[in-house]
Amino acid sequence: MNVVANGVRLHVQRLGRTPGRSPVVVFLHGLVIDNLSSLFYSLANPVAEAGADAILYDLRGHGLSDCPRSGYTIDDSVADLIGLLDALGIDEPAHLVGHSYGASIALRAGLRSHDRVASLVLIEPHCSESGDGGAWVEDIADLLTANALNFEHTYLPQDESTLGRRRARPFRAADDLLNGTTLVEDVSAAPPFSPDELSGLAVPVLSIWGEHTDLATSAMSLAASLPGGRHEVVAGVAHSVLRDQTPVVLDLLLAWLGELCPSMALEATG
């Protein structure tokens, strides 16, 4: 379904037999080449099956949501999220499950709008404590732009079939997002998460990291700033922990929700 939130039409999927159940769990995906399907395929259906009101949405500029030319700061993203909760009539605090940059948005929402947030589950969040927290976005943007150019040069001249045009669609969408909107500069300008700010976080936090993640510095900093939080490291994987160890991540998530929401039936994977 489509929901207008904060002036943007967002593509939303709401899972579970009865919307309005408790707990409410909102999923936030990662940046540019990601959309709600990664969390739909991995976590959201089992969470809904376990009794939650599971809500997924495509961030602005991603998936099937609108792609405005501007408004990609992290504060804009938090406003989109809160606007979505308002538009869906959700009054109770929601558990936010964020992956990669989606976890950064969730963390910022937990700090700015803690009354709307029941808990945070942060899977490989980008939460650099230094002023160059946006540098990784430049790297991703360069890589994707290079890929997009390569794809156009290599494939499109030879493949004008319907299938060829369909294959090109996600690359064209990524190219438009990177080069036709303010996303890169907006995300790059994200203020860092300072230890002082994090120490004031008023909601429970579970963070999940891959053992070999490139974000190890962020992981250690977050754990140090949130000693009361739960910080889990999954062995044998890196930033792709969600895709490569889905059952482990799902079990951690279901256990977390089960502890915080005793009324929720748990059906952990085998």
């Binding site: 399907s37 739909f40 259906n45 089992p46 099937l64 299938l163 369909r166 996600p170 889905t246 059952p247």
Partner: protein, 113 residues
């Protein structure tokens, strides 16, 4: 799963399965347009992601339309909750149609009464 039909095209269930696959095909047309039908024939063995090259987000859109088409009679959430990512990526039109057929069918004890 033990009462799933072994040969979905056999007996009286075959026509129902064909009708469900026709429904799924129409839903796919709604999601990705009709041009793909010129290049691919939709059969029970057709995979969504490999043969139809459905993007993951398009699969989600298809699942939503399927849920709307059959309402509360088909539990897609429960079905997908039991599949791994790779199983969803390898899902065939036939497997999804069989789940719909099982969901719509009267329960076994009613059949044999």
């Amino acid at each position: 799963m033990s009462d799933a039909p072994q040969h979905p095209s056999a007996g009286s269930g075959g026509g129902e399965l064909a009708a469900i696959i026709a429904d799924l095909t129409q839903i796919l047309v709604d999601v990705i347009g009709e041009d793909f039908l010129l290049e691919v024939e939709v059969t029970p063995a057709t995979t969504f992601s490999h043969d139809l090259e459905l993007e993951s987000i398009e699969f989600v859109a298809m699942a939503e339309k399927l849920q709307q088409r059959y309402g509360g009679r088909v539990d897609l959430t429960g079905f997908l909750a039991g599949l791994s990512i790779d199983q969803i990526l390898d899902l065939t039109v036939g497997a999804l149609a069989e789940h719909v057929a099982r969901s719509l069918a009267p329960s076994t004890h009613e059949r044999t009464a």
